[in-house]
Symmetry: D2
Amino acid sequence: MSDVKKVVLAYSGGLDTSVILKWLRETYNCEVVTFTADLGQGEELEPARQKALLMGVKPENIFIDDLREEFVADYVFPMMRANALYEGLYLLGTSIARPLIAKRQIEIAAKVGADAVSHGATGKGNDQVRFELGYYALNPDIKVIAPWREWDLTSRTRLIEYAEAHQIPVPKDKRGEAPFSTDANLLHTSSEGKVLEDPWEEVPDYVFSRTVNPEDAPDTPEIITIDFERGDAIAVNGEALSPASLLARLNDLGRTHGIGRLDLVENRFVGMKSRGMYETPGGTILHLAHRAIEQITLDRGAAHLKDELAPRYAELIYNGFWFSPEREMLQAAIDHSQAKVAGTVRLKLYKGGVHVIGRKSPHSLYSEKVVTFEDDAGAYDQRDAAGFIKLNALRLRLLGRRDR
Amino acid sequence: MSDVKKVVLAYSGGLDTSVILKWLRETYNCEVVTFTADLGQGEELEPARQKALLMGVKPENIFIDDLREEFVADYVFPMMRANALYEGLYLLGTSIARPLIAKRQIEIAAKVGADAVSHGATGKGNDQVRFELGYYALNPDIKVIAPWREWDLTSRTRLIEYAEAHQIPVPKDKRGEAPFSTDANLLHTSSEGKVLEDPWEEVPDYVFSRTVNPEDAPDTPEIITIDFERGDAIAVNGEALSPASLLARLNDLGRTHGIGRLDLVENRFVGMKSRGMYETPGGTILHLAHRAIEQITLDRGAAHLKDELAPRYAELIYNGFWFSPEREMLQAAIDHSQAKVAGTVRLKLYKGGVHVIGRKSPHSLYSEKVVTFEDDAGAYDQRDAAGFIKLNALRLRLLGRRDR
Amino acid sequence: MSDVKKVVLAYSGGLDTSVILKWLRETYNCEVVTFTADLGQGEELEPARQKALLMGVKPENIFIDDLREEFVADYVFPMMRANALYEGLYLLGTSIARPLIAKRQIEIAAKVGADAVSHGATGKGNDQVRFELGYYALNPDIKVIAPWREWDLTSRTRLIEYAEAHQIPVPKDKRGEAPFSTDANLLHTSSEGKVLEDPWEEVPDYVFSRTVNPEDAPDTPEIITIDFERGDAIAVNGEALSPASLLARLNDLGRTHGIGRLDLVENRFVGMKSRGMYETPGGTILHLAHRAIEQITLDRGAAHLKDELAPRYAELIYNGFWFSPEREMLQAAIDHSQAKVAGTVRLKLYKGGVHVIGRKSPHSLYSEKVVTFEDDAGAYDQRDAAGFIKLNALRLRLLGRRDR
Amino acid sequence: MSDVKKVVLAYSGGLDTSVILKWLRETYNCEVVTFTADLGQGEELEPARQKALLMGVKPENIFIDDLREEFVADYVFPMMRANALYEGLYLLGTSIARPLIAKRQIEIAAKVGADAVSHGATGKGNDQVRFELGYYALNPDIKVIAPWREWDLTSRTRLIEYAEAHQIPVPKDKRGEAPFSTDANLLHTSSEGKVLEDPWEEVPDYVFSRTVNPEDAPDTPEIITIDFERGDAIAVNGEALSPASLLARLNDLGRTHGIGRLDLVENRFVGMKSRGMYETPGGTILHLAHRAIEQITLDRGAAHLKDELAPRYAELIYNGFWFSPEREMLQAAIDHSQAKVAGTVRLKLYKGGVHVIGRKSPHSLYSEKVVTFEDDAGAYDQRDAAGFIKLNALRLRLLGRRDR
């Protein structure tokens, strides 16, 4: 066991991280600094401060930050520019939050002179990897403590026994095992484990917390517009909004119309398959709107290159490599393409569906004059197509002659 | 103008290809063989025979083939195995039909000793490319006649004048210009041009022909199952169906629930952007179901490689390179991955949405024993994750040390 | 034939472009502006001016530019950062020069108010595409005249007859057909056609002009060093040199030691295979030296991403898409990786071979402390490898269990 | 420590694996089965049998197999079809041998009823990963013992002490530390560590064992031919040879002419950079010859797709994922392309260099008729290029109009 003097713990104030707080002090005999971030998970942060104080954390060792704007502007939006989908479907809501938490922990560690950081992610999941790759990338010499991989509290019963033995208050609803495990931030809420573990069984309705059931959504569609500038959304229904406010607004719209539920069996970086339920109401709207504005503002070459790079980019984020040279290289390529991705998208929200119904842009590359079925006044010479096809066919003809 | 003796024309029986039939004979003084395919476009084929006879085509020169099963089994299904989406959204319904028509024309040309083939696609679109790359790949020495690129009938008015001057019956509804242009087969119906040419304007409701408006779809969701074997769908709701019958069944379900409408601005191979409306009811269900069955039966390495190859594969089909070595190479890779893609997917259809709610397989790679949040009895050793992370982080740490 | 008032011709002063000059005036009855670039092809430029004057071009319509530094700094070096090789072997010496010539022609056209540009590339090759894609990208409305695709001078005999009929001096050695066709600039000399057209026949020795035969090279190896900064070479043997001077120095070294000959059958963008002989003496050394300095300064993630992107990047340059969004996106990614690609590479030149024998860098990521076979004092914990392997193996084990 | 009854050890007969043999018995109190493979490493195998007997291994537990033909036919050749180069330069000579050894160990384990396998690779290298991923893929339930990660013999001194204490003969030259570490098989010899650990220092001449120094190679070039069939080499200088004999023949030629030396700093899968020296005499010739025969027999679409897939394919082999679905998928794609890769390549070997000087094939796609600078009698219509360029330029022109 390595020697640790001061550790910065990602602390939610809940039972698990409270037990970790205690266990760190007991096990490492070290000072614990707590860090609690507001990423839009929808919980009050002050109770976390009170709990930390009650646990004996010194006031100057309690850090509570509102990271919502940074989260959306510097993490969610760059990822949205890429149209990233993990395994074709997942909008990466958990993955994209971890690097920011890791970065802030390392910054606090530098500030308070801590030599270690710690998190509450288990040894089976992806989050441990995302946290720790972030830690190591930003401070190669930091010590990392992952209690779930180290301690012997291998069941919830033992965790609660430990809590009771150490005067850690155990909320009533934690006595029985929770029926599933969740993570939440401004982009999404995820649920996995337990009642969700059989991928043949439908997800029970009580698992959802961020969206109404599409069947209960309004019977009347709602039409909205989103404005974009340089690839980022800047306004909803004509109202300019900060990144976090904008995503919150779309979340409200998405919640109402039952948008963004995803039942997925995915491949974890650690090598197993898991089944999760994701709710990404605003993000789902944003993703489709971004694709729509790109349709008229992005050149084909740029668009197709982006499509080919996107699976790799998504994989990097999922696997925890946000702070890696290759993610940054891909980001540089993607961002280069977004200079003129600007304009307005019109969407219809209805019963769980997001339907793009119109898009316009001052930078549109769509040319009605060229594409028209009507007389195009010479904008396009149809005879050019003959040569185009002949030369595209040439290698196939040479091949055909050989292989007949 | 090259010397042509006998030409095989892709003939629908409609006004345009009837004018082409006449024009070919007049211009090239050649014998015309008509080929009409049933690809599930939902039109009677016998009228095409009658029209061809009326136009003076010899009975032995009239070919009418039901290609529905071949179309689905050998073109749609292989493409579905790839999860191919052009520009992230489009299921390639038009693109995938052209190679089969081209192949059949070349076969008929060989049979009847024709030295040329002809089609009715315009000089602005992708279809001319798809037809002609197919022709040339399968018979490098065939002559290709693309009337729309050659003749001077550059407006509908002139086309109708030509028809009337040559005793070709002009249907009443063709007198006025059609408000949009369509293509249909068992996989989809596309609509483009004219009233759709402003991508900011919502597609009028009368454009849709294959699906009800989601707002008019039943208020009660419908649960269905699809069974897969070796990557292909084989049964709906437990009933084994041939490929074409299965797709037809899914089309019925999709139509009822308003599934598979897509409003897209896409990049054509010939270099311009165009706006299209696609209806792919059954294909949309199939696409999502196939992804779902892959989720539990495909290894991560195979799945991610497929995701990286899919945009290129889709582009090849869109651009008309079905009969190319590179499409075949990608198909070989994709097909290799599908041996165990088998099992059953449960889906909920509701108001335009397709929601996967369950999947199971005799070949499932999902292991509840390994993934469980409960005690896993040693199936997974959480301490392994420490070394896994440490070595994945090593290069990032060396980098961090250098760059600080 | 479109109406042309003033045309900027890429003019070498040789027979072909002199005939073109005359033909342009005769055919289009337009003013001709000549542009002659020094790209390091090793020819005097003043004779081109004299010839243009003799042909009646007004002095103010004669442009002669030394573009060597711009060529190497802004075209060759960015490409070298990518380690670009077309079809695994070719250093793209011709391809990379065309965009610069095109750009300069468009700039001159803007300056002199010309409405057209023209070049001397034939209708079978890649260069016409590279020139014209450059023209159109930089000025979408420019008129392009490609005489070889338009005129009826389809043989050298007819070209010479035309020249004689128009008082254009025909050099003695042009009377007989040249035994092969060449292109040259500071990066390379290419030779193709005629005596080279049978790919089974060895290239005759008289084809080579830029390198000695390896068999005639010195019997003693020469050791050199190249210094890099931000991915670009900045010094040879410790002497700081401008980009063009540096490449010239490496060309001298390469020439002496018979380095950089390549006999290649390649795939042209227009669809046919052609056989070419390339001499890229300095570029070959530079390419290998750049790879060597990247070996110690580039992170694995960045290096492997670059390797995967390089074939596409090379294809874009070969096909003439230098001024395309997708090439620029890839360049942004590549350039992002080069910030710390700095240091010194030691190479041995011998009888046609370039052998990297050492590399060092202030930004080296190579850690003898970590890699050593000796006791590493805890820099690396071998037990970490157990977990690393176990989790990398997990999916393969689950697969193996299923498939046994 | 897990319970082990019988273990199959990859046994060379050298000091290290002899110590491992002893240590396994002592530590696990288990029966040890030795497996020694002839992969063309150029050592006698019978001494290994004698040593195993002397160490007390039962005769029926000693397995010695000549795997040379299987190695070349089923591992080296498939990899050569891909033109695989790790990090642009390395022919993967060590990586490609490990899966075969692993496969044979698992087969022997099944035969003798062993529950474990073991190897002598250290905890810092790639080979442990390659062995163990192979083991686990082929038998997910096998136990794996990696002594170098488990024991406390952390220096050579302690290893020798252990050997002496256990009556294991220590060769004289092992008393002092070897100046570098090697691996050899029919494809290559690698050397790394110790005197090679400073990547700025030239590799000393005594490190090389498979090739003469190019400076000592014959002053006269040697011309050879290699025949290919379905992508594999089948004859040298017209003489048909089995895969292993053919590679051995090319090794002799390469040795004589000093071909295939590579000084590389590479990125290991475990996260560090290492410097190695590789000698791949025959493989280097084969690699270039294969590219040359592909030049005239492979279509551009197939060739470029191969070039884009090759880095990933090489990475998979390097990282030990030979027995993975994604490597097999890529192999399926690659093999699909090789049906007509047949013909003869002529090469000149001289002073370390391999120069392709000619290639011919009954399946050549090279068409002198089409490519010729002379009159091509209509094989290619240069005017087609105009339309080809116009449509390739269309999107760039629309972009240019927008962005000016």
